[in-house]
Symmetry: C2
Subunit: 256 residues, 2 copies
Amino acid sequence: MKKYKGYLIDLDGTMYRGEEKIEEASDFVKALQEKGIPYLFVTNNSTRRPEQVADKLMSMDIPATPEQVFTTSQAAANFIAERKADASVYMIGEEGLEAALQEKGFTMNDVDPDFVITGLDREITYEKLAKACLAVRKGATFLSTNADIALPTERGLMPGNGSLTSVVAVSTTVQPTFIGKPEPIIIEQALKIIGTSKEETLMVGDYYDTDILAGLRAGLDTLMVHTGVTTPEKLREYGEQPTYAIHSLTEWMDKI
Amino acid sequence: MKKYKGYLIDLDGTMYRGEEKIEEASDFVKALQEKGIPYLFVTNNSTRRPEQVADKLMSMDIPATPEQVFTTSQAAANFIAERKADASVYMIGEEGLEAALQEKGFTMNDVDPDFVITGLDREITYEKLAKACLAVRKGATFLSTNADIALPTERGLMPGNGSLTSVVAVSTTVQPTFIGKPEPIIIEQALKIIGTSKEETLMVGDYYDTDILAGLRAGLDTLMVHTGVTTPEKLREYGEQPTYAIHSLTEWMDKI
């Protein structure tokens, strides 16, 4: 059995379920830490800053520093910076996206920005959407942190960023570049951060349509863990299978 | 030349452009009135009540009573009433839709309604969208007043109801039934109100994708007037052509 030198790890459904712990996640990450194997949490959640994500993981006894968290907001900010270091940006989003853009020193511009980026914003308004539409029609490059259509909560499946992004996409007939999983963009950036090659890095996640597909597209081996969205029955319906599929991270402890 | 016994007439681009008069519209409608030919204004604007629309027309010297205005909100309310007279409804929308639903006496229910209907709402919030998504996922029949992707304003093309509706459609993966033009639903209801048969009724409008297509789909003869969206050059790109196309309603005065 191949031993991996780096791990990219999904959060919701893999490390926890909403506010509920997944018990074996703590031991799994501690084992990586003890063996000195680098790991990076890779999340489509654009709304929180890495510090906040690390705090949540630590509160669940999962070893995590802010530097070990990589959000789709950070990936989006990197994507923009690689194209135009002094870009002007109009964003729809919450604290996590705002912080990631501020860290790059971009100018905020709600009239004729170089880039429009949409992330989940639970304070969405018609005016915010209108500004995004007008800017995209003027030629701004249109990005979206992620295409997730729904957000699991205790109330049920709430609108995800992919559905909010569709307002601008449908109204302008311009399709955005999505940054988050299952796009390979976020994974390619994550590899640069973790510093291991794609051949020696394993992508771990619970959701085929985002985590596993992102790994497959970026050329990584993938470990599906059935503690979240994709059930074993559902997994059989997909053509390309993950490299490994397990019911719980406990099963992987002797492979680390 | 065939003489028509009833006229269905579009508003924006045909009777006026935003707040700007189209000069010949007044004489056109006055000629219909003088000859005793019934006419009905048919609009995809769900936000205003018929009284408000008639007031605007009257202010532009176009003879109009509230009874001569038929909005997509009224068509949606009729559509629901035909299916369930005592329906419970959750709506996203403005004054026009609210008034049309209230007139039918439907119960408002934001948890488990029979129908969810989305109309243009410039006070849209995440919570409103979330309630619509949750209700559609619970099995509510999903309707939308119209699929217009953009709303022409002095600021530019703002998000139209079709783009707002897409949040719920994308998030739930349930497609709504659209009521407004180019769907034949609104035209079929308009014919019942005006009381003329489809063979003797003319659909008049400026926009191929809504007005003309609605007329074609409902089996009416159509008169395209190039005072709004669709230019003569653009019209040539379409396969099925309107019955007549003119540059201004002045050209039609001797056909009434």
